[in-house]
């Protein structure tokens, strides 16, 4: 009897809120950042082994896929930073009112794209 009982649907049916979306993205970008930063470390370490490696990776980073990788990493880093600030404030007990969580959540989402563009422009010496 006990085991026969089905489990009611959960993530399949639950509607996403801004706060839950930011929370899961925070975790995903955290994992992406660890992998991405590790790859950067490996890249730097490879330089020690000679300039052939450098040109190879340079070629990759200048390809379409490489550019996507770099911009993606910049975005996920920006998102993580802003979301972490939001979490810090929450750990201090601020920003738990529903309206505030929506506003700060949106700030994190839009802010991460703005920050990505800003970092891109700085990197290209446009600013």
């Amino acid at each position: 009897m006990e085991n026969k009982r089905p489990l009611s649907p959960h993530i399949q049916i639950y509607r996403w809120h801004i706060s839950s979306l930011v929370s899961i993205s925070h975790r995903i970008t955290g994992i992406i950042n660890i992998v991405g930063i590790t790859l950067i470390c490996i890249w730097v370490s490879l330089l020690v082994l000679g300039d052939a490696n450098y040109s190879l990776i340079n070629q990759f980073l200048n390809s379409v896929l490489g550019k996507f990788f770099v911009i993606g990493l910049v975005w996920s880093f920006s998102f993580q930073m802003l979301s972490e600030i939001r979490h810090l404030l929450m750990d201090m007990g601020y920003g738990f009112e529903l309206q505030t969580t929506r506003i700060t959540g949106l700030m994190v989402i839009f802010g991460s794209f703005l920050l990505t563009i800003l970092i891109y422009l700085i990197g290209k010496n446009f600013i």
Binding site: P6, L7, S20
Partner: protein, 259 residues
């Protein structure tokens, strides 16, 4: 453990379709989760065409209408119909709430009604809340005061009493706990928002003398720290309470050793 997919016996199949017989022009489709314990079949999603011209404003009114006029086999909990008892907590339009206080006009398109998420279903919209009640019992939700005689009044200042506002109003409907992904996947260890809000309610009660012991109890890694401020709980609460903030306050008390 995080488990995204439902077990084999819980996958929802397409159910029966109940066509409208009133000839009304104002029809809404209502999809209701059904499971009959007397059969070996999987749960199914039945669709009812409901005449909205003769239906009051809340989701519970729709369910009553279906049960009274279309399909008497539908099972769901309800009692007060005024948002006080917490019996009719369910998932409507992808969000937990009380059927008696949720207007169906707020739900766009077809109205999907499911039991509270990630519970063992007893029948149709009735989930098994035994686990939650056991956890509630484990925090010993009653006043503990040994220094005062039973006949002596325990006084409390207005300020001290005001601290309980936003915590004592909880009706234990379980909307918040069953909306929490962390509770879905760690419900055996994590106390969940509803129980933690109650734990907080007794910890901040100035009349209670076991504050330290209570705090130490919830400080256990998984009982409290599985909260990742997803805030589904606060979004779901039909009484407008804020369990997430109460959990944050508990974390703060422990972090600042304000025990």
């Amino acid at each position: 453990m995080v488990q995204i997919n439902l077990p084999k016996n819980s996958e929802v199949t397409k159910g029966k379709y109940y066509q409208d017989k009133t000839g009304s022009k104002n029809i809404r489709k209502v999809n209701v989760y059904r499971w009959d314990p007397s059969t070996e079949e999987n749960p199914r999603l039945d669709t009812y065409e409901v005449d909205m011209d003769n239906c009051p404003s809340k989701v519970l009114d729709i369910l009553n209408k279906i049960k009274n006029e279309i399909d008497p086999t539908l099972a769901y909990r309800r009692s007060c119909a005024h948002g006080v008892c917490g019996s009719c907590a369910m998932n409507m339009g992808g969000k937990n709430g009380l059927a008696c206080t949720t207007p169906h006009a707020e739900i766009d398109g077809d109205i999907d009604i499911y039991p509270l998420p990630h519970l063992k279903v007893k029948r149709d919209l009735i989930g098994d809340l035994d686990g939650l009640y056991k956890q509630y019992q484990s925090i010993e939700p009653w006043l503990k005061n040994n220094s005062t005689k039973e006949t002596t009044e325990i006084t409390q200042s207005k300020e001290e009493r005001a601290k309980l506002d936003g915590a004592y109003e909880c009706i234990m409907c379980a909307c918040c706990s069953t909306s929490c992904p962390s509770y879905w996947w760690n419900g055996d260890k994590y106390l969940g928002p509803a129980v933690l809000l109650q734990a907080y309610r007794w910890i901040i009660d100035s009349r209670d003398e076991e504050r330290e012991i209570r705090l130490k109890k919830v400080a256990d890694e998984l009982k409290l720290y599985r909260c990742h401020t997803i805030l589904n709980c606060t979004n779901a609460c039909p009484k407008g309470l804020n369990p997430a903030k109460a959990i944050a306050e508990l974390k703060k008390m422990i972090a600042t050793a304000n025990v």
